[in-house]
Every structure is written in C-alpha cells, then in structure tokens.
Amino acid sequence: MPSPDLIAPDRVEELLGGAVPEGEREALVQGLVRELRLGGAPAPASLRTRVTALGDEPLRRRASLPRRRLALALALVLVVVSMVGAGLALRGAPSGGDDSALDAPASEAPAAPSPAPEPAYPEIADNLSNFTSDSGGERSALGKGQSEPDLVSGDENIDPRRATDVDLLVELRLRDADDLAAAAGQAMAITRELGGWVAGSDVDSRGREGEAQLQLRVPVGRVEDAVVRLSELGTVTGQRMETVDLQAGIDARDRRLEELDRAIRIGQLRLESETLDPEERLRIQIRLEQQRAARADLLRANTRDRREAATSELTLLLHTREAPAGDERDEGGAAGTARDALRLLGDVGVVALFLAIVLGPVVLLVVLLWLALRSRSRRIETRLLDGPEPAGPPSK
C-alpha cells in the first residue's frame, strides 16, 4: 500500500523524462534527479587498469553449441527415440492371440520381403533343422513372439544324437466345417503314414463353423515331413515350437549308473571273499540291494526320456474362423501402407500417452520445485537488500 505522500510512479516517470515540475516537491525531486545524473564517483584508476588488462587477455575459444539448445535437442532426440523404440517394441510384442501369427515374418523382417506370399510352414520346417537348443535342460520356445534371427541363426544346431523333446503347435484355418472334418481325417492318416499315432483328438464340426484339436505323436526323424504335409491341409495362422534338451539328464544318469555298477561289483567281490563276519556281510548285502534299486530307477528314467525323445508331440489346431482384416498377409498398395501408418501412429500415440502419464507428474514436480526455489531466492534477495547495509540487519 503506497503512502499518501508517495509521488505517483507515472509522475516520477514523467519527471525523469523532463516534464515541468508542478509544485515545490516535484521541483525538489527533479533537482535530486539532476544531481544524481551529474554526480557519481568514477571508477578509480587502479580498477580501470585491472579491468582493461582483462580485455587484453586472449579468450579461450570453445567450439561448443549453446548449451540450452544442445540440451533441448538432446531431450527431443531422446523423447523421439524412446517413443519410436517403445512403438516398435509394442508392435513386436506377442499379442497373446491365436490368429495373428501369419504376419509375423513380414513385420519382423522388413529388410528382406518375400516376393510372393508363401505358406508359413517352411519356417517351422527350417527351425526343426536349425533351432536353438539349450543344453541346460531348460525349455526353449520358438513361435510368433520370437524374432526371426533368433529362430534361424542358432549357433547350436540340433544334434540327432542328442535326446531332445520337441513339442510343436500348428494352427490351421479351414474354409468350413466340412473341410475341417476332412482335414482332421487326413491329418490322422498322415500321422499314421509317418509311423506316428494319434494320442488324442477333439473334433467339433457341427454347423458351418468348427474347431478341432489333435494331439499327434510323430517320430522325431519325420517331424519335418509331418509339418510340411499337415500345413498343406489349410492356411497356417499360428505356429509354435518348444524344445527341451533331455540329453544332459541322460548323461548325468549314465555317469551315476557307471558309479553304481562299480560299487555293486566291489560289493559282490567282498561278499565272495569269505573273510567277512556275519554283521559286515549283512550290511554289505543291504547296501547292494539299495544300489541295485537305485540302478533300476535310473535305467527307467533314461528309458522314459529316450522314449520321449524318440517322438515329437505335435498339436494340430484346426478352425474355421476368419482371420482379422489387419492380418491379411498379401495386402499391399496404398490401403496397406495407410493401415500400417495408422497402426504405427496408434502405437506412437499409446507410447506418447504412457510417457505423458509417467513423465507428467515428474515435470510438474520439477516446475513446482523450480518455482519454490525461485521464490526462496527472491525472499533471500529481498532480505539481503532490505537495509542500508546489504546483508546487514534490516532497516527499522
């Protein structure tokens, strides 16, 4: 609240601009202004020398962009890169659906487009001879969610001498229920023809639509043939392959078997020696029984694993559902490009929304912090200059 004696700020500006003073008070103010403008101590000679010497020093040249612009550009690049990266990650992530695998190769390997649409089965067939198998007995799954280089560029190709459990899933779309029933029958026939058998089947072909699930066991050596022939029964809409290396477990059990055989032979020799007292003899006999039982268990486990590895479990899913329009593989031209662009824009939008939600509070916090710091700095500044002597006690 200005004091009643305060000369109006606008009038002060006018007086500074040379307005004719009205009254004694304004004349005094203008006189003060005149004296203040004319007076003022000049800089001492020693200071002038000191400052002039500064100007003579050569400037260190720094080849740098203005820091603010550089930081802004970096931030912009980071945001764009993260948005594009997240968008690509979203596009490449498995959707969990069972009918979108057909476009996977096209979207995952854009650098090498195939000249004409081809059925998807060659991928699985290739994978069978080229898949990555882990030696630790862990399960590895290859399917739509995997990128193509992972599927085909494994360093360790399948070794026919190694026992491996291979589980496959092939999903086919048929035109109608009649085709589906016929395909199910053909699939069973193919399986038997290849030396395998049908472990289970569930075929529902009532009405126009239908679904079927066949659990097929196919000899490992014929899996590739089976996949190729089964894939020809309809349009492949999904595929998945899982492998488990069983050889490591078999090898470990073989080593344990050798140790057990040695121990059993030693025990038998000791029993035949006739130098043992009855108690010792009994103890060795008990141990021998335990070792023989363990040996039998190990042999059974090895047999089970070898039998498991001899055949592959192939799950064949048949259905008559239409593929979603977005999954049309042979779509090209302007419409396809526009749809791709829209999809990409949608993904980018999702990522932008995500970033806004995540970064929004952070930005708000930073702004609030900045305002608080600025306000604090102003308060300190006011306190410092609020006395005749700066940084001294405030004026009364």
Binding site: I7, P9, L28, G40, G55, D386
Partner: protein
C-alpha cells in the same frame, strides 16, 4: 514464399552487432562501478565486485546477445548477481560469527564517498540497498524502465513503484535535513 521473406525485416547477426570486450568494458566500467558502489555503499567492496563482474562478463562474453538487451543492462545483471552472491556469503559469515562472538562491526569506518553532495550522500545512505539500487539504475545509469526491471528481475510496474518510493523517501530526508 520467397517474396514474403524478402519483405520481412532481417535480424542482424549477433556477431555483427557485437564489439570487442575491451571496448565494452572501457565504456561501461564507470556505470557498473557506480551501480555497485551505490548498491554496496562500500568503495573497496564495489571495486572488487566490479572487477569480478568484468571477469565473469569476459568469460561469458561469447554468449552475450545484443538483440536481447544492451551491454550496460547485461553487465549490470552480472554485477547484481555477483553482488548478491557476495551478500549471501557475507550474511552466512556474519551469522557464523554472531554465534561465537560479538561482531566487530565496521561502524568506525569512514563514510564512503559516493560522489554526490554530503547532504545527498547522507540521504542516500539512509535508504535501503534495494532503494539505492533502483535509484542507481534508473537515474545514475539512466536505464529505461524495462532495462532496469530486467536487471532487478521484477516487472516494470514494480520497478517504477520501487523508484517512486525511493525518490519520495529521498526527498523527505533531504527536506528534513534542510529544515534541521
């Protein structure tokens, strides 16, 4: 499009508007020193702060953009920042000292010559540092309202109000002295 651009006023390049630091320093040394002398009311401190201001200005001379303000405004802003840093440090030092002992005080020091008549100097010394500062910028250095507001980091209206208060106070003190 080219026609439109041709009609648009072209902004001169930053380097074309800028002269050497030595010339700028020689031209504005007195102004900056006067400003800091009135702000601090301490001649030796004002000298040190002026020298520090020009050292800092030399380091960032490359970043000075004449299109955004005059050399004098830019130098005064640096000077103010240097002075405030000093006052903050001094304030902390005083608080520390007061905790352990009575401040020695500079009360015995002779009044500083600001370069005005003794009456005006006495009246100026009775103003707060903030009031002296605005008087220095607007009247002694003759900066316009916008430039002074930019140096002070406040709005133009606040700057004018501060000046009006300072001048009113100054006039009252002068009048009181004349009556006495």
């Amino acid at each position: 499009m080219r026609g439109v651009n041709a009609l648009a006023p072209t902004m001169p390049r930053r380097s074309a508007l800028r002269r050497s630091f030595g010339e700028a320093a020689a031209d504005h040394l007195d102004a900056v020193h006067r400003y800091l002398l009135m702000l601090t009311a301490d001649s030796s401190l004002a000298e040190d702060l002026t020298a520090e201001t020009f050292e800092k200005a030399l380091r960032s001379w490359r970043r000075f953009d004449p299109r955004r303000g005059s050399e004098r405004t830019w130098l005064c802003r640096i000077g103010r920042s240097v002075a405030l840093d000093h006052f903050r440090a001094e304030s902390r030092r005083r608080r520390r000292e007061e905790r352990y002992a009575f401040a020695a005080g500079d009360d015995d020091a002779a009044p500083v010559e600001l370069g005005f008549s003794p009456e005006l100097e006495a009246a100026l010394r009775s103003l707060t540092a903030a009031e002296r500062e605005v008087v220095a910028l607007r009247i002694v250095l003759d900066l316009d309202a916008d430039a002074a507001a930019r140096v002070l980091g406040v709005g133009r209206t606040a700057c004018s109000m501060r000046l009006a208060r300072a001048l009113t106070k100054l006039e009252e003190r002068m009048e009181a002295r004349a009556v006495a």
